[in-house]
């Protein structure tokens, strides 16, 4: 037995002359939360659909839960759960009816189905809403219901395509609590998102730009690699002044505006915080406020997009091509 839940080799998908997924290779370990990041049209959904057996690959191979994609799709289907980007439950049916139907489709019936239904309703906190028609539920609860239906048959892997798109922050947080619980219980989670804060929850992240997987690692390593150094948030001096003072200093990597403040990124091996503070204190009279800041995945994403591929293909990624 391998410890890999998903193995992808040179996977490729072409729509006409448009290359949606271009020679993508990666592995996902069992029980891992694997995040797939990218702009709309970068090839995230296309990858997921191929892995779920919904789209035939144009090239390459993939093995999901031990099944080669495209071969025995029926065996594959009972081992995976899928939550599509578009909300696809039946809005005219009550919460319970949706769960019961998908349970039936996954082969559950009778007492086993009733037990699993009650368990999931309890778990996603829909106890008092079980007879409510799905159309009357707010977006965040619908997403939890959709997740529950994808989990009915206790799949080894769940594929979640933008599960929190358009959902309020509180609901997103409770949704991610469910995802982390799942992973702790051993379920492999393959999730796409364009919320960078959510990506922090993932054990590893793949960054997609124009159909290519341009970076793949844990959030920590990605930050160190693409946005090295330490970051300070500075208030009290304008960007121009700082650039003139620090611009030529060895060890200063970047000076960028960040809201009302400025971010200074530096190499801790060549420069320290105290030295920077000293230099800035001497060039103005206003109160100087300096604080340590965290590198965000947003910074990584921007760095990857600007350095990783040439700019013309980057703009292509937003052109509204098939997701």
């Amino acid at each position: 037995m391998t410890d890999k839940a998903i193995e992808v080799q040179r996977l490729r998908r072409v729509f006409g002359s448009f290359v949606a997924v271009d020679d993508v290779s990666f592995d996902v370990a069992k029980g891992e939360i694997f995040g797939y990041l990218g702009a709309n049209g970068a090839g995230k959904s296309t990858t997921i659909r191929m892995l779920c057996g919904l789209l035939a690959p144009s090239g390459g191979q993939a093995k999901v839960a031990g099944c080669a994609v495209g071969a025995n799709t029926l065996a594959l289907r009972s081992r995976i759960g899928y939550m599509s980007q578009k909300f696809s439950l039946y809005l005219d049916l009550p919460v319970e009816a949706n769960i019961e139907f998908f349970g039936g489709a996954y082969g559950l019936y009778g007492k086993a189905l009733a037990r699993r239904r009650d368990e999931l309703i309890e778990r996603i906190g829909l106890g008092e809403l079980r007879r409510v028609v799905t159309a009357d539920l707010p977006g965040g609860i619908r997403q939890r219901l959709a997740l529950a239906t994808a989990l009915l048959h206790q799949p080894q892997i769940v594929f979640l395509d933008e599960p929190t798109a358009g959902v309020d922050p509180a609901s997103r947080r409770s949704f991610w609590r469910l995802i982390r619980e799942l992973a702790r219980e051993g379920t492999t989670v393959f999730v796409t998102t364009h919320y960078m804060d959510e990506a922090e929850y993932c054990a590893r992240i793949g960054l997609m730009v124009s159909g290519q997987l341009v970076a793949l690692d844990s959030p920590r390593v990605l930050k160190d690699k693409w946005v090295p150094g330490k970051v300070l948030t500075v208030q009290g001096r304008d960007e121009k002044t700082m650039k003139s003072v620090l611009g030529d200093q060895p060890g200063v990597l970047a000076i960028e505006p960040f809201g009302a403040t400025v971010h200074i990124r530096f190499d801790p091996a060549r420069l320290d915080e105290a030295a920077i503070e000293q230099m800035l204190a001497n060039c103005g009279s206003e109160t100087l406020l300096i604080d340590k800041a965290e590198v965000s995945l947003e910074d990584v994403f921007l760095a990857v997009v600007s350095k990783g591929v040439n700019p013309s293909t980057v703009s292509h990624a937003d052109a509204g091509v098939p997701a």
Partner: protein, 380 residues
């Protein structure tokens, strides 16, 4: 998985889940139920009572130029009939035509001078009938009825065998529907219409809806097989279709006295074959269009409209131009209606109707094959 359930059991269980879900959709959508059950009955009542093709008390103008007792008795026989009524007696054809132009009469009966003389001599005689042809159906019926009245009236005064032999009396005996009631003709047509509507339109809608909402994608990731999905989805509609047919048969029998003279088994087989063909057609449309709006339009254009116009439901196929006859022969509704009329009215069974059943089976088979070829479990 352990237990008594075999692979077949699992398949049945998934079909049942699908059917239960579909039934829940129908239960929650009164419009679907109304369309499937109330509309057919409403149509039948409407056609049976209101839009009847049987005309009564058509106003006719009599112009008597003969002025004899025989001519008078001829005019009286027109008055005595249920179908025609003498609205006026005038002295010239022109005056009669004037009344017809105003829409107050549908025909003018002219009894020419010398009519009774010629009759007495046993010579060929003629009555003139001037008919308003603007409404072809009414005109046709008026001609038929006037013909019938005149023939009957003439056979009465002439009783001498030697004289009677000189005339050829056409005696028409209408079988199966002697009263010529429209309801008897309409019920088979309506059954076809209802089945087509329920099967093609509702099926096309329900499957197109799954595509449109994106739930088809979700279904494709479950272990439910293509055939199970289709079967489960269609079962409630088959039930609805059968219910609709029984309802129309019952209303036809109780309200309009439509008989079921022939083989019930042949009737059931014909209905089932037609049902399968129509369901497959509905599925095919939805698979091609994947859009509820377009599916409705295509469904109406390819099933309901041609059934009303081309299938012999209202207009006899034999009267159509040849290209349309060919189209009519390809349509399963044509065969279904013909078979139904044979079974219901003429008391036919498989022996007389097998060709129509064969045509229905052929259509169903072709449609099912095309549809399964087109209906892929994949999105591309």
């Amino acid at each position: 998985m352990t237990g008594p359930f075999t692979a077949l059991g699992h398949a049945l269980q998934r079909i049942a889940a699908m059917a239960a879900k579909e039934a829940a959709h129908i239960r929650r959508d009164p419009q679907t139920l109304a369309m499937a059950l109330a509309m057919p009955v409403a149509l039948l009542l409407l056609f049976g009572y209101g839009v009847t093709f049987d005309l009564e008390k058509l106003p006719v103008v009599a112009v008597d130029q003969d002025h004899t007792s025989v001519a008078r008795s001829m005019v009286r026989s027109f008055s005595a009939s249920r179908e025609l009524v003498i609205a006026a007696e005038l002295d010239s054809v022109e005056k009669g035509e004037a009344l017809m132009r105003e829409g107050r009469a549908v025909a003018v009966v002219v009894i020419p001078e010398g009519f009774s003389r010629a009759l007495a001599r046993g010579e060929r005689t003629q009555l003139q009938l001037v008919v308003d042809g603007a409404d072809a159906t009414t005109a046709l019926q008026t001609i038929n009825k006037a013909d019938a009245i005149a023939s009957t009236a003439l056979s009465l005064p002439v009783t001498t065998p030697g004289q009677g032999a000189a005339r050829l009396v056409v005696d028409t005996w209408t079988l199966y529907n002697p009263a010529g009631r429209s309801a008897l003709l309409l019920v088979p047509g309506l059954m076809a219409f209802i089945l087509a509507m329920v099967c093609v339109l509702l099926t096309a809608l329900t499957v197109a809806r799954e595509w449109e909402r994106g739930s088809m994608e979700q279904l494709f990731t479950t272990p439910i097989r293509r055939g199970e999905l289709i079967l489960g989805k269609l079962l409630p509609y088959v039930g609805l279709g059968i219910l609709g047919v029984l309802l129309v048969l019952a209303v036809g029998a109780w309200v309009f006295g439509v008989p079921i003279r022939g083989s019930l088994l042949t009737l059931a087989v014909a209905a089932l074959l037609f049902l399968i063909g129509m369901l497959a057609q509905g599925l095919f449309i939805s698979v091609i269009t994947k859009n509820q709006m377009v599916a409705t339009q295509v469904g109406t254009l390819t099933s309901m409209l041609p059934i009303q116009i081309l299938s012999g439901f209202i207009f006899p196929v034999a009267n159509m131009p040849v290209p349309l006859q060919v189209v009519a022969q390809v349509m399963p509704a044509t065969h279904f209606i013909a078979a139904l009329r044979g079974i219901l009215l003429r008391g036919n069974g498989l022996r007389e109707q097998w060709q129509h059943l064969l045509a229905l089976a052929a259509f169903a088979l072709v449609m099912v094959v095309i549809t399964s070829a087109k209906f892929r479990r994949r999105l591309d």
